[in-house]
Symmetry: C2
Subunit: 129 residues, 2 copies
DNA sequence: CGGAATCCGCAATGATACTG
DNA sequence: CAGTATCATTGCGGATTCCG
């Protein structure tokens, strides 16, 4: 995402929380301290580089603290800040909202019109009209 | 953003709400009906094409309804669905969180270490150490 | 081990033109 | 007016390498 187009605070948060990783990282950090390599192990598909970039972004936003320990090999721990913890229930609420939504999606399959109806995102039944 | 890496509901919402436009569009739609061209006028920097794509994404997610009127010239109206309205306070809460966060950012300027301290994102004072 | 720098492909986005 | 299609461009994000 490039520069902001407004000073709307909503747009500013989204600047930080947008993308696949920020919310996942907060999800893993909410239960406690994680080292860099912990987070890599828990997110097997994130690249070394992206993890570093995303963590720095969250740190700059005041969501995550970075603690560096002397010694070799290097050791760095990450935690949510108090502000970061305050964010968790909000993000969870978004997830809960998602699960509660009813959707109807239509498509085509073999010349037949297929309508997929789900009471929630979890349980979808399928009709062919 | 490409395909999901998990079935975490949080990641699924973010799939829809990520990016600069979704939250801004919801922001404008929360006060009432908007035509395609209304939304263009209110978001001068979004391209015609992107607006169409983002609106379709929100529609597929069950957040927005599209209503087409016959006649010429064409006329289409967009509204939040009930599910979309339920999302508004959550997004607002994210914005409120952002404004309440304290941050300390450090940098360099002309060989001097500059520390920027803000009680909230809104009011930042600047120190030179 | 944690991180920075470089290179590079691909997906996202923009510009433009065309349609009902 | 609203939307699609096509093409050009950008910039994200992955792979790799080097450093403390």
């Amino acid at each position: 995402m490039k520069n902001l187009v407004s000073r709307c605070p909503i747009e500013e948060v989204m600047q930080v929380l947008s993308g696949r990783w920020p919310t996942l990282l907060i999800y893993y950090l909410k239960v406690g301290t994680n080292r860099f390599s912990d987070l890599r192990r828990k997110n097997p598909t994130i690249s070394h580089k992206m993890l570093a970039l995303e963590l720095r972004k969250l740190e700059d936003a005041g969501i995550v603290v970075r603690t560096e320990f002397d010694g070799y090999p290097l050791r760095v721990e990450y935690d949510l800040t108090p502000a970061g913890h305050k964010l968790v229930p909000l993000i969870d609420a978004l997830g809960d909202w998602w699960e509660s939504v009813e959707t109807v999606t239509t498509g085509e399959r073999g010349g037949l019109r297929v309508v997929e109806i789900s009471a929630t995102k979890k349980s979808a039944s399928r009709l062919i009209l």
